[in-house]
């Protein structure tokens, strides 16, 4: 997906994990994905550099679709579709 398509996605769940370092964002993503339905879109906001690589790998392993990452000023928005 392009950056424009990503930011225009209708997000079902937004997780703001900018206040925590690794493994906080991954834990918050894991908790939050249990609260949404298959096919729903979730975004994870993280200011942790490691999360940018960690969450896509985790998502693929757990059967969720990694849609892409948008870099904002000082943080990332990572988009997933629940499998």
């Amino acid at each position: 997906m392009t950056q424009v398509e990503l930011v225009e996605l209708a997000v079902n769940k937004s997780v703001d994990a900018r206040g925590t370092a690794c493994p906080g964002p991954l834990l918050e993503a894991k908790k939050a994905i249990g609260t949404i339905s298959s096919g729903d879109i979730m975004e994870v906001l993280s200011a942790d550099e490691g999360t940018k690589r960690d969450i896509p790998k985790w998502a693929n392993k757990k059967g969720h679709e990694y849609l892409g990452t948008v870099e904002e000023s000082g943080f990332f928005k990572i988009y997933l579709r629940k499998g």
Binding site: G19, T20, A21, C22, P23, G24, L26, L27, A29, K30, K31, W58, K61, K62
Partner: protein, 137 residues
């Protein structure tokens, strides 16, 4: 489901924190986890000791800097990491019976609420043999 077996020999704050972060990753991945608490580690699991652990295994001369960074980065305590992991996935904590005795703990009630069983060394090795990942900290 993958299984992780961890031998937790260290009872130092830095290594306990690392163990907690690794358990969090395992929890995010829904792994089954066996933690075997060995010699020095058992001191941290004696009831009431969780907040008394403040020694570092490495770079102990930089302890203040280390502790300040953990705080400013909003890192959970090692105990909180273990609690969270136990809430999220199947984590069993076993205390080696010899290690427990060395630090004054013989029965399950002598240890903190993270603790599931007191065990012998055979159970640790059997768990390691069956695990997909084995690590010793």
């Amino acid at each position: 489901m993958a299984k992780l077996c961890m031998g937790l020999f260290s009872g130092s704050l830095d290594k306990l924190t690392a163990a907690g972060v690794i358990l969090s990753g395992a929890a995010a991945d829904d792994m089954d986890v066996d933690v075997f608490v060995l010699l020095q580690g058992a001191r941290a699991f004696i009831k009431g000791n969780e907040n008394k652990i403040d020694n570092l295994a490495e770079a102990s001369h930089l302890k203040e800097e280390f502790l300040n960074s953990l705080e400013s980065l909003n890192v959970s305590t090692w105990y909180e990491f273990f609690e969270m992991a136990k809430e999220m996935t199947n984590v069993k904590v076993y205390i080696c019976s010899l290690a427990g005795k060395i630090w004054g703990g013989e029965k399950l009630e002598d240890f903190n609420d993270l603790t599931d069983e007191i065990c012998g060394i055979g159970e640790y090795l059997t768990s390691a043999e069956e695990a997909d990942i084995h690590m010793f900290i």
